[in-house]
Symmetry: C2
Subunit: 217 residues, 2 copies
């Protein structure tokens, strides 16, 4: 159907699209894809010919409905494989991304529907991100960044924004995990750092941490 490269571009545009309703710029896409702007222009033209994106010179690129559906299916596969790796193969949440990047491109409808069943139709991946269903539907959680909470507020950790191995290992080390209850004991307005209560311990965390943790109140 689509080449490896085409699929990766669609996924990248999808992820960049989320953050702003404007078109995705060539440079942003080049950065995300770890490639050069000229290569992006070439590929974007190709995707445009295939009606997967809407593209006007110098105006950035948008996913078409077909492109969005394709991207959603890749995201679905990526996240299902992540669940598989963590739940069945004892991977930790900081190890799954790389492998899932490869597994997401395996082409078999049956494989994914059976995997979904085998995993008992999970709704979220190990980082708390929602898994689209076969039709591309998923509910974006009503979540907010920990940094938005005020002193005294509390909620449940439902996701992370930064999924880098370094950040996830930091969380593991400090016993910060999905599903834990976090309460803001104190917030330092000067630098945004917080003193939080998590489980039976309290901990001081920097802004780098608070802007990368999603909380459901």
């Amino acid at each position: 159907m689509f080449s490896l490269s085409e699929e990766n571009y669609l996924k990248a545009i999808f992820h960049l699209q989320k953050h702003s309703k404007a078109g995705v710029s060539t440079n942003a896409l080049a950065e995300e894809m770890q490639t050069k702007a000229s290569s992006v222009t070439d590929m974007v033209k190709k995707l445009s010919d295939k009606k997967l994106v809407v593209y006007k010179k110098y105006q950035g690129v948008y996913l078409s409905e077909a492109g969005r559906q394709t991207a959603l299916q890749i995201v679905r596969k990526h996240r299902l494989w992540e669940v598989f790796l963590v739940e069945k193969l004892d991977f930790s949440w900081d190890e799954v991304h790389e492998v899932a990047e490869e597994l997401e491109h395996i082409k078999s409808e049956k494989l994914i529907s059976e995997l979904d069943k085998f995993l008992d139709y999970p709704k979220r991946d190990p980082h708390g991100d929602p898994i689209p269903d076969a039709k591309g539907n998923f509910q974006a959680a009503n979540k907010t960044l920990l940094s938005n909470l005020s002193k005294g507020e509390k909620g449940t950790l439902v996701g992370v924004k930064d999924t880098s191995s370094e950040f996830l290992k930091y969380l593991d080390k400090n016993d910060i995990a999905l599903g834990k209850t976090i309460e803001v004991l104190d917030k330092e307005e000067f630098d945004g750092s917080m003193l939080i209560q998590i489980g039976d311990r309290s901990l001081r965390v920097s802004t780098m941490v608070t802007v990368n943790i999603y909380i459901k109140i």
Copy 2:
């Protein structure tokens, strides 16, 4: 490490090598790879430069020890994934090959060692073929073709040579499966067809069938 294409060539040479101790011919490899002889020559030169095969112009190609080990690891991955698909995802044995062709190229040591553990270190794939261990060791079963048995002899079905969907579906339809006991009730010397006892039924099968079923006596 190696490209998709390189891996597939190594695997193809490995499979063709098994059948004759002579070098694998360019044409045979082209046939196996569904490509042209000229393309094969190019690739074989490349593999030779990388010391994965031994190649002399017009003399066919042989796997080097490094090439053999690489091929064995690909075969290992292919067969482990086949077990996974059949045992965990309810695939039937005629559906697994295509998908395993893709899965076998995923690059992660940990993925394969964990999968092996998850499947409880299977020794054979769903077609009865042995699964090499992490070091590339596997025991070739002492098996023979059903066609080699004489009237009155019996044994256990331990594998199939032809793994095409058509053949496997024929076997399923006639309730011929791995592990079943087969006895040769009668053998027609003229065309090699046999009357066999399998389970509580007897069945007449053609040579096309008897030369594609492996029996352990």
